[in-house]
């Protein structure tokens, strides 16, 4: 009888083990271990792991060591700097957003035109109607506009810039604090608006905008051009001033290897 009982019990244990093994194979157990050690688990996960580690020493070892591991994982160090930096990123995004319409029919159109710049435009007398600048390109423009040229230069990117007369954007966008300026500088490169250059002067005066030395030199050239235009009161010399600014742009582009 004892022998029979042993066989019966042994068969039962084997059946239970097989059942447990089938129900909690290693991949399933690993998922449950993962859930438990990450602290987002169900009763079923616990059941699966408890049953499985009784019969699988490898998973038992993993389970115990991973529990120890998560104990030493530090909370991410999100210090006070995060607030300021997060603010800056959001502010820059909003600045860019101000130049974009989100209605589907108008995607790719950038709107400018503060009262100040409009007045300046009229005073200068260009009379070209700069309130809206139709941007050439496609839906990828925005990505292009927000790219950091110094580490994302590809042949396609350069082609795009050249096609769209946006080479200058690369120079401006090297400065991560100058998103709003991109538009002014691009606008200038495309030779369609001087109002935005005046706006760029104002942006430069903001304390949180840091320009690189070469960008400062470009801005000085632009300011010089603006001064001359203002002194002239006409657009007669704009062509030569534009060439001067473009030369500065080319110089910057060359320096940046674009």
């Amino acid at each position: 009888m004892i022998g029979n009982d042993y066989v019966f019990i042994s068969k039962n244990i084997s059946a239970t083990k097989n059942e447990a093994m089938q129900a909690t194979d290693c991949p399933t157990a690993r998922e449950a271990i993962s859930a438990i050690v990450s602290g987002n688990f169900s009763d079923e996960d616990v059941c699966i792991v408890e049953r499985h580690i009784e019969i699988c020493s490898a998973c038992a070892e993993d389970y115990n060591s991973l529990l120890q591991l998560v104990e030493i994982l530090p909370a991410p160090d999100h210090d006070a700097q995060f607030n300021a930096t997060a603010d800056a990123a959001a502010r820059r995004a909003v600045n860019v957003a101000r130049h974009i319409t989100i209605a589907p029919a108008r995607i790719g159109t950038y709107r400018f035109g503060s009262a100040f710049s409009a007045a300046a435009m009229l005073a200068i007398g260009f009379g070209l109607g700069f309130a809206t600048i139709k941007h050439v390109g496609n839906g990828n423009d925005l990505q292009m506009l927000t790219s950091q040229a110094n580490n994302r230069i590809t042949t396609d990117y350069i082609d795009f810039l050249e096609r769209s007369h946006l080479l200058l954007l690369g120079a401006a966008s090297c400065n991560p604090d100058c998103s709003a300026q991109d538009f002014e500088l691009v606008s200038h490169q495309r030779r369609i608006s001087i109002e935005l250059l005046i706006e760029a002067q104002n942006i430069r005066k903001l304390p949180d905008v840091k320009l690189r030395p070469q960008e400062l030199r470009l801005m000085e050239n632009i300011e010089s051009a603006l001064t001359q235009v203002a002194a002239q009161g006409t657009t007669e010399k704009y062509g030569s001033i534009r060439e001067e600014s473009d030369a500065a742009v080319c110089e910057i582009s060359r320096r940046l290897g674009m």
Partner: protein, 188 residues
């Protein structure tokens, strides 16, 4: 403010943004911008890149708001955009990432001083950061979203557009890899 009130305000703000009000957009993202930024930082490990990714995510969100139908919370929608922006960013900077991986490997090789030489929690934290940086993109995303950003497994799966099972598997692999990378500094 009650949840219902918040949702109402959010809807109002979204409607305002959809009609072209950028100030409303600034208000809409204000409560989320720190979370978005910290998520970007945890995912990429660099303040500069985090700023770029966060900015790109915000702009994409602004641009895409006209298509936002509200079937998910705005925050969830924005988190998803952020993760996608990070994936795009990684793709664009794959070469630079490769270089970073090599540098990280240098930092974690056998020549790295052991804890008995440079003891301290700060050092261990640095080793953990470096080890997290060496996870595959998918493993890192899952690890960061669950452990650092404290999204649930279901939310993580949703954000990454993968199944919960895949999240768990990736997380298991991530933890095992971390354990191996940190083995020189701990006994387990």
């Amino acid at each position: 403010m009650s949840q219902a009130s918040k949702q109402y305000d959010e809807k109002m703000l979204i409607a305002a943004v959809q009609s072209g009000n950028t100030d409303a957009f600034a208000q809409l993202i204000a409560p989320l911008q720190r979370r978005i930024y910290s998520m970007c930082y945890d995912l990429c490990g660099s303040h500069d890149d985090a700023q770029d990714i966060a900015q790109e995510a915000f702009i994409k969100a602004y641009k895409g708001l006209s298509n936002f139908v509200g079937d998910a919370a705005f925050s969830t929608w924005l988190y998803r955009i952020t993760v996608n922006s990070w994936i795009d960013h990684r793709r664009r900077n794959s070469m630079r990432e490769l270089q970073s991986d090599i540098e990280a490997e240098d930092l974690l090789d056998d020549s790295t001083p052991k804890p008995d030489v440079i003891a301290g929690a700060t050092i261990l934290t640095r080793h953990i950061e470096e080890a997290v940086g060496r996870l595959s993109p998918q493993q890192r995303a899952v690890f960061v979203l669950r452990f650092y950003q404290e999204f649930t497994i279901a939310e993580t799966a949703d954000l990454l557009n993968i199944s919960e099972g895949t999240v768990k598997t990736l997380m298991f692999r991530a933890l095992k890899k971390l354990r191996e990378l940190l083995r020189p500094y701990r006994d387990w």
